[in-house]
Symmetry: C2
Subunit: 270 residues, 2 copies
Amino acid sequence: MSDPRPIGVFDSGVGGLTVASALMRALSSESILYLGDTARLPYGTKSPHTVQRYTQRNLDFLLDRDVKAVVVACNTASALALGTAELAIPIWGVIEPGARVAVAEHRRRGRDPRRPIGVLATESTVRSDAYAHAIRRLDPEATVRSVACPLFVPLVEEGWTHDEVTRRVAERYLRPLLEEHADTLVLGCTHYPALRDVLEELVGPEVALVDSAESVADVVRTGLAEADLLSDGDTPPSHHLCVTDVEARFERIAAQLLPSSKATLELVEV
Amino acid sequence: MSDPRPIGVFDSGVGGLTVASALMRALSSESILYLGDTARLPYGTKSPHTVQRYTQRNLDFLLDRDVKAVVVACNTASALALGTAELAIPIWGVIEPGARVAVAEHRRRGRDPRRPIGVLATESTVRSDAYAHAIRRLDPEATVRSVACPLFVPLVEEGWTHDEVTRRVAERYLRPLLEEHADTLVLGCTHYPALRDVLEELVGPEVALVDSAESVADVVRTGLAEADLLSDGDTPPSHHLCVTDVEARFERIAAQLLPSSKATLELVEV
């Protein structure tokens, strides 16, 4: 059996392209249909009700386009809306894969219960406590400290990824985690890996920085194989990007994140 | 003739409450129906097409609620969508009133063409060049320098209005305006008046800081009188706030901005 239909990936904006890019590398026979809800971003400051409403609309859009499975690349949507989403095909978020890697890194560092796993995320993700729940399901003794970092997304979008201002903001957000000697830090928003250098400089090389995007591809590959939904690659894979608002910025960042991809871009109303 | 119907005020979020508050003070016999499109904010990073689409939906909502006139408190929507909006009742934006005050302040400071009028605004407002057009219509010799300040809104929303980080960000954004000795600065977004202290400290007391909210009430009063739409106050005025997403923050900021108002709050879908 082979299923050439695309995998749907959605995010509130452009950040989820890091997840799409990881999927393209790891599953090169698979077609990807990406949806960025750029007209209504950000999700990270909005209520569960609104995030759930928008997530369901995005899922319905992807289903109408006949995807065989969906990856919710947005941490906020994964945290708030995965439980309420209605979908008759496999769906994966980024919280569970991120929690898995965090717990593995915490174990590798001695699993000291006095040293917490830190989670950096949007306000809504932090309020949902989704990472803490997912981590404690895997390691009930782990201590989790979540910190909302609402300025990180705008700083990344401003392009100040290696900047003195960003370093000061990061310093302030990370202070409680540094004081408690966190041994692992989850980058709980698709924008945050762009700040890896600044964060690494602050926490030092012995603290693990966990990017969910990297581990999602494994989860998706296993899940597709189990559901007998993998493509055998006989049909050449396609990469198509849909956005609800077109800004020059999206095309620029898409070109950076997907340099070798011949992805096509389409403006859609969701 | 007296018309007791409310004046509709809309903004992408909570910032427009400063305009609503100014209207309540200046026109105490008038009822106000406020709409904050908090589910889809911010507008300032989005394309003209999307801002126009959302603005028209908001106007239709206010019209359904039988307002007699509309004030677009959002600078971005005023800049991008006032020209395309379809409405059979009077509508006013904040660009024109702001430009009027800026030109008056520039004149009061000697109207030196080598000293520009500076405009601080969102990316979309700056790209539209709406303030420059409005200012040059009033004073064709004025030089206008517009600067996009995308980090100001998130800094205000984080509550860092009197903060070293904010001072550094402001310093960077204002550098070109300081170098050119701007004599007047338009605060071209409803969030920016919250940064007045930081900005004043940077530019010094001789530079005028112009807040559109303050002058809109005059324009509305004159406009309502001309159209014979003023209320005589026989009906007690009501203040009602509608939002498309409810966040704890909105209620807190609303309580701060409208301390004496018995405004009621309603979650709506637009």
